[in-house]
């Protein structure tokens, strides 16, 4: 070994390596965990009228489900807990706005799933 060690000889080299595509995949993972970005593989997106049709069907399906739940709750409610008609209406209206927002934020795949679910539901069809 040399009597003197020269830092210039080694320079900035490090022996550390990374797997292929590491940084690209790492970024995808981070984006997924933060912005919930779609992975690289391309999924065909719905456009225009088809998306509108699915959105409408999903809204109808969700509204029907909500109505069903409200009906079931009011049916099983005791006398002491009966709310006034206006209170119930207010709750439903608040629920509808939240429902609209929720539906708007669904991805295309989630919308499809909801529509498919409603089409198979024996209470809705």
């Amino acid at each position: 070994m040399d009597k003197e060690f020269d830092f210039d000889r080694i320079g900035k080299k490090v022996p550390y390596r990374t797997p292929e595509h590491f940084f690209e995949e790492m970024q995808q993972e981070v984006m997924q965990r933060t912005y919930g970005a779609q992975p690289v593989q391309h999924r065909p997106k719905m456009h225009g009228r088809h998306r509108l049709k699915v959105l409408f069907s999903a809204t109808v399906a969700a509204a029907a489900m909500l109505a069903g739940i409200v009906f079931a709750l009011s049916y099983f409610r005791t006398d002491n807990a009966v709310e006034s008609t206006s209170d119930m209406l207010a709750a439903e209206m608040g629920g509808s706005e939240a429902m609209d927002k929720w539906i708007y934020e669904l991805s295309d795949e989630e919308l499809e799933e909801l529509v498919n679910f409603s089409e198979n539901d024996i209470f809705l069809n």
Binding site: M1, D2, K3, E4, F5, F7, R9, I10, K12, K13, V14, P15, Y16, R17, T18, P19, F22, F23, M26, Q27, E29, V30, M31, R33, T34, Y35, A37
Partner: protein
């Protein structure tokens, strides 16, 4: 070359795009900084992801009192040390044993170029340093940061850093020449 002002500008109007630009700029230097501290690629990967997620979560609170670089290096330092200290606490082992574990990882780990013997030995020498000296040495030698910036990252006085760096170099030389 992406600069910090550009990142902030884009982040303000399009956070997702700005965040991606930030990752593009910092992912490699921060990864290798972390890797030099934790050695294993898997650990470095975990820490790196955690760093960017903390950046994402902390962006609104980041007031720009320091540079982006200082902020991110600081997070990376804290997260790397958190990982190493967690091992120390979980396994109830001393700092020297953590050091030995890191040395062992260096000798038998994936994604290390063992053909470059001098580079491996150099990393061994760095790992043999006390923690503070190791941090200062890496930031100064590899990341080529100014002492003032290192001082903000490590919360240490510049004079102390210079002394630590000097001793680190001496110990590294001694390690390589005598082993």
């Amino acid at each position: 070359m992406i600069n910090e002002d550009k990142i902030r500008q884009v982040y303000a109007s399009d956070p997702k795009k700005g965040f991606k630009m930030l990752m593009d700029k910092f992912q490699e230097p921060i990864y290798y900084y972390i890797r030099r501290l934790v050695v294993s690629h898997e650990d470095a990967e975990d820490v790196l992801q955690e760093v960017f997620i903390r950046v994402y979560r902390g962006w609104e609170q980041f007031r720009g009192e320091s540079s982006l670089s200082t902020w991110i290096y600081r997070i990376a330092t804290n997260e790397s040390l958190r990982l190493l200290n967690a091992r120390k606490n979980e396994e109830a082992i001393a700092a020297e044993e953590v050091q030995e574990e890191l040395m062992n990882k260096l000798k038998a780990s994936d994604y290390i170029d063992y053909e470059n013997e001098l580079a491996v030995k150099f990393q061994e020498a760095i790992l043999s340093l006390p923690e503070k000296q190791r941090l200062v040495f890496n930031l100064r030698y590899y990341d080529e940061l100014e002492y003032e910036e290192i001082s903000r990252i490590l919360d240490s006085k510049v004079d102390a850093l210079k002394v630590n760096y000097h001793y680190a170099k001496e110990k590294i030389k001694e390690y390589i020449l005598n082993r």
